[in-house]
């Protein structure tokens, strides 16, 4: 693929927000073994809001998301340029500890991936190894309540997490991320393996979470993006085509590609 790197394709409206910027993604490009997957993306993430990243399969959503808490570090052959900063601190600075980055920026994965341990241990492990202050048990209970799982599991905290249903497992993974009290939670298609009921429970959950947390969510579900997010970024072929208020992106997109995609006339 030969695409001009200097091509500034994004028709970004100058999005203004009364909320402060928490993450600043500047001119980020990511390549796998020389093949560009994300191209010159510049994107702000605002504090205590939900930002949705949408776009066709393979356009680089997961790649971009993983770069925000340095999960790309574990993939071979990744080259990244540009700057990502959390409240002014460079996430990829020479003296930045990636473990600390992941403490501040948690992640929920596309497929539920609980530890093959008890429900309790799943949540307690992170706070324990990081020597977090306060009562761990209290923390586990709070996280389970926040993720709307408490009523279903309160009598069997010592059961294996693998015995939970897919939707419950995903809420457990969200609880696991919440127990770390990160500043930002990244979610990569958290509902893609879930039924509509579980999905709507998680969406309800998102509404509550944004009071306290900043959330970046990748989704293939246009309705979901429109329902839950305040800001929407549309990626295509690694390029940020449009970023703006969700209302504006879905009702008055500035770019024709965006319009085609959100209205389903894509391709």
């Amino acid at each position: 693929m030969n695409v001009d790197l200097n091509e500034k394709s994004s028709e970004q409206n100058n999005v203004t927000s009364d909320k402060p910027k928490i993450l600043d993604i500047r001119d980020v490009s990511i390549a796998y073994g020389g093949e560009l997957a994300v191209r010159n993306v510049t994107l702000p993430i605002f504090e205590k809001s939900i930002t949705a990243i949408i776009g066709p399969s393979g356009c680089g959503k997961s790649t971009l998301l993983r770069s925000l808490n340095r999960m790309n570090d574990f993939i071979e052959n990744v080259d990244q340029t540009g700057v990502i900063s959390l409240k002014g601190d460079d996430l990829y600075g020479a003296d930045t500890d990636p473990v600390e980055v992941r403490l501040k920026i948690g992640m929920v994965f596309q497929k539920p991936n609980p530890f093959p341990k008890s429900i309790y241990r799943n949540i307690a492990w992170g706070p324990t190894i990081n020597g977090m202050e306060g009562d761990i048990e209290e923390r586990v209970l709070t996280a389970l309540k926040q993720s709307a799982l408490w009523d279903e599991v309160k009598d069997r905290l010592q059961d294996s997490a693998l015995n939970l249903s897919g939707g419950q497992q995903q809420r457990l993974c969200i609880a696991r991320a919440l127990a770390m009290e990160p500043e930002i939670i990244l979610m990569d298609e958290p509902c893609s393996a879930l039924d509509p009921v579980s999905t709507s429970r998680i969406e309800d959950l998102l509404f509550e979470l944004k009071e306290k947390y900043t959330i970046v969510i990748v989704t293939h579900n246009m309705q979901q993006a429109a329902r839950v997010s305040e800001y929407t970024a549309f990626l295509e072929n690694g390029v940020l085509v449009e970023f703006g208020d969700t209302d504006q992106v879905f009702t008055r997109p500035a770019n024709q590609r965006t319009e085609e995609y959100v209205t389903g006339r894509f391709g």
Binding site: V99, N113, W125, S160
Partner: protein, 286 residues
């Protein structure tokens, strides 16, 4: 048309199934004959006196004590040397080493080492441990030589077990702010332990049965004492068994069978320890 085709496919499927059953049956049958043969011949000789006596020219006085103790020392020390080294090497290669040409070069050569004939390890042990390090014909020399012999097996089996741990599990752990070591210690190793143990048992079983390298480094056949420390001379079960079968008298052949039974029992005990550890591990997982 379709139904004829389908019938043929069912036929092939059941043919394949029955050939598998037949082949398995043959293997199990041979094993049964072997065990039957050995037990009927050896059982009458197997008593406390046999276990508690040193080798002798008189079959009724001869026993396996020195060989049994020698083997326990040998396998114990080999396990002590080889298991930590092998598992740590596997952890390094899978979890830490960069995926570059040097790592691949090491990988390939470990696989090659697993195929080197055991006598070659014997020669190496003789030159390196017995002569160069002046460890003489001691249990330590034997155990170090055996460790070299089984190390590749342990490394390869452990690597496979570690690689089989799903990447998503590691990512989940990293995402809650774990360090590489915490991820390995708390999630990768517990998940990989059954596979690692299987490899360890296979390797130790091999060590218990190997004779050639021990002969090479000069493990004696006639020893009328048990090793008291790692620097003592020793003999081992397979050497004693081999020695008895090499004698002309029928009684000694029967003693050899009794020795084989002892060897098999030691092996089974080792296996059951591994099964127990696996069981305990899987219970704690919950």
């Amino acid at each position: 048309m379709i139904s004829a085709n389908l019938r043929r496919r069912h036929l092939i499927a059941s043919l394949f199934r029955w050939s598998c059953i037949a082949v398995t049956g043959v293997a199990v049958a041979i094993l049964c004959v072997l065990i039957y043969q050995v037990t009927t011949v050896g059982m009458p000789w197997l008593d406390l006196q046999f276990l508690d006596s040193f080798p002798s020219r008189f079959p009724e006085k001869a026993g396996i004590k020195s060989a049994l103790y020698g083997t326990i020392w040998l396998v114990g020390l080999t396990a002590l040397f080889a298991i930590p080294t092998g598992v740590l090497a596997a952890i390094y290669l899978e979890e830490y080493a960069p995926n570059n040409r040097f790592t691949r070069f090491i990988d390939i050569n470990i696989a090659n080492l697993a195929g080197v004939p055991s006598i070659v390890y014997g020669i190496l042990g003789l030159a390196l441990f017995v002569r160069f390090f002046h460890l003489e014909r001691s249990v330590v020399s034997g155990a170090l030589t055996m460790s070299l012999l089984i190390l590749p097996v342990i490394v390869i089996a452990s690597k496979e077990a570690i690689r089989a741990v799903p990447q998503s599990l590691r990512q989940a752990a990293f995402a809650v702010g774990a360090t590489r070591w915490q991820v390995t210690r708390a999630h990768v190793l517990p998940s990989a332990i059954p596979g690692i143990l299987t490899g360890v048992i296979l390797a130790l079983s091999r060590a218990i049965g190997e004779t050639a390298p021990l002969i090479m480094i000069g493990a004696l056949t006639y020893i009328a004492f048990v090793p008291e420390g790692p620097m003592d001379e020793f003999t081992a079960l397979p050497i004693q068994i081999f020695n008895w079968t090499a004698r002309p008298q029928q009684e000694f052949h029967e003693l050899a069978s009794a020795g084989i039974i002892v060897l098999l029992v030691v092996l089974l005990l080792m296996n059951s320890v591994a099964v127990y550890i696996r069981f305990r591990g899987s219970r704690r997982e919950k």
